[in-house]
């Protein structure tokens, strides 16, 4: 019985890891300092777990979670509500439709796959902001954000893969 409880507890813990890591990404993005320098936008850390687990375990990273993570991002960043949420949901939709293509990538191809997702997120944000304020926004910030997010995915992906194998992967008994 205890063993069963442990298994259930462990499963619950492993199931929440993707969402918790995304929330950690939201928190890191909005911390009051940047290790990348003053004028480089914070990378979209929250997008990395969303992309990763949307590919490998969409049951743990549902559209609803992507939306909720986006809403929390909106709250913490102080911007107009719904923009990050819409951006993450749009990215999720693209990944969801092209899952087979994205999931088959490895090495630099995987980086290219994530860069595509980041591009969708940045473009969605840019379009919504331009519509929201009814003027064309400068694109330089979005380009920087896209570049820095894509580059940082390389080390972060290794960490996510390790966490997946170590904590999330072994408990996928139903697959």
């Amino acid at each position: 019985m205890e063993r069963m409880g442990g298994v259930i507890g462990g499963k619950f813990f492993s199931n929440t890891i993707p969402v918790l890591l995304s929330l950690l990404g939201v928190a890191i993005t909005n911390l009051p300092f940047s290790i990348l320098g003053s004028w480089i936008p914070s990378p979209m850390y929250a997008l990395m777990p969303i992309y990763f687990w949307c590919l490998v375990r969409p049951d743990l990273m549902s559209p609803g979670w992507a939306f909720a993570i986006g809403v929390i991002h909106d709250i913490l960043s102080g911007g107009p509500p719904g923009i990050w949420a819409a951006s993450f949901v749009a990215t999720y939709a693209v990944i969801d439709r092209q899952r087979d293509a994205f999931a088959g990538l490895s090495g630099w191809g995987a980086l290219l796959g994530f860069a595509t997702a980041a591009l969708v997120a940045c473009t969605t944000q840019y379009l919504i902001y331009s519509l929201y304020w009814w003027r064309l926004m400068p694109v330089s910030g979005s380009i920087k954000e896209f570049a820095v997010t894509s580059l940082l995915y390389i080390p972060v992906a290794f960490v996510l893969a390790w966490i997946h194998h170590r904590f999330v992967g072994p408990l996928r008994s139903e697959f």
Binding site: N30, L31, P32, F33, S34, I35, S38, W39, P41, S42, L55, V56, R57, P58, D59, S62, P63, G64, F67, G70, V71, I75, L76, S77, G78, G79, P80, P81, G82, I83, A85, A86, V89, A90, A93, R99, F102, A103, G104, L105, S106, G107, A110, L111, Q125, Y126, I128, Y132, W133, M137, S140, G141, S142, K144, E145, I154, F158, H164, R172, F175
Partner: protein, 342 residues
Amino acid sequence: MGNGTWRIARSRGGAHLPLVIVAALAVALILIGKAQSSLFDRARADIMDWMRPTLVATRAPMEGVGRWLGSIGEIFVVYQENLRLKEENARLRQWHNTALVLDDRIKRYQLLLHAVPDPVLSSIVARVIGRASHPFLQTMILDAGKANGVKPGQAVADQRGMIGRVFLTGQRTSWVILLTDLNSRIPVSVEPNTDQAIMAGDNSPMPVIETLARGVQLKDGDQVVTSGDGDILPPGIPIGVIVTDGSRYRVALFADQTTAQDVQILDFKQKPEHLPTASQNDLPVTAAGLAPAAPAASQGLPPPQLQPVMPKPVFQPSATPQAQSAPSADDSDNDVPNAGDQ
């Protein structure tokens, strides 16, 4: 990055919201946020108050890591930096003395001119517990709110100059829109000619000078301060210096808003101009040369009849005691600056 090294789950399960509904929710949230921003702001302030302890707790270790990472490169230039700082310190000491002398002189001039005193400025020191640096958003979260007397619109500055202004307050937290944010617009004054302008952020490190009067030419290095127009911000807070950028003017900010950790929230209280308390000598009757009314007048006695008062001659023989108290023409020019109004 080997996404293809493990099996891919094909199903999201049946309990999840469909993508279409979630997308519709996101769009609805944007529209509601645009129409009823105050609703979302209240919720945001409440949530941030609730999250404040977590942000404060995570701030310290992360700040330590940030400082450590930032100091790695400085190790190699510490000697040159020390020499430079010593030289700068000596120069600043000279300027400090000059500033004290000038400050005293200004106070004396203000006293002589009966100038309206500068507005009272008190401040609250707050810590930065969150900072959003996104392509279209430059905001900051401080750990002081309504409970500490923070109100929307107040200026936020560090020891070097202005950083931004408060736009939303919770009980224990407040949000600051930085001067570089796309939506930041503040009235400024460019010294030395006090040219009035609007400084607008465009998410670049240097905000742009807008709506400058036609024909006004600014020079690199001209100082930019808050103008205080509209009584929203206190006048005279240093902001930065003018830098020419092609046909436009930009402002190189004094404050480093991206690294500031402790800031001041300036509480701008426009001091009401109270009239001085009337003394016996200021009463019109006394000024007209009559004796003040006896205290008995207020004890139910009939009011005194008004008598026409003959104007006094300006010059009196010096023997009379009244003439000794009357100021000469020269004296009245010197001591009663507003005599013409009487």
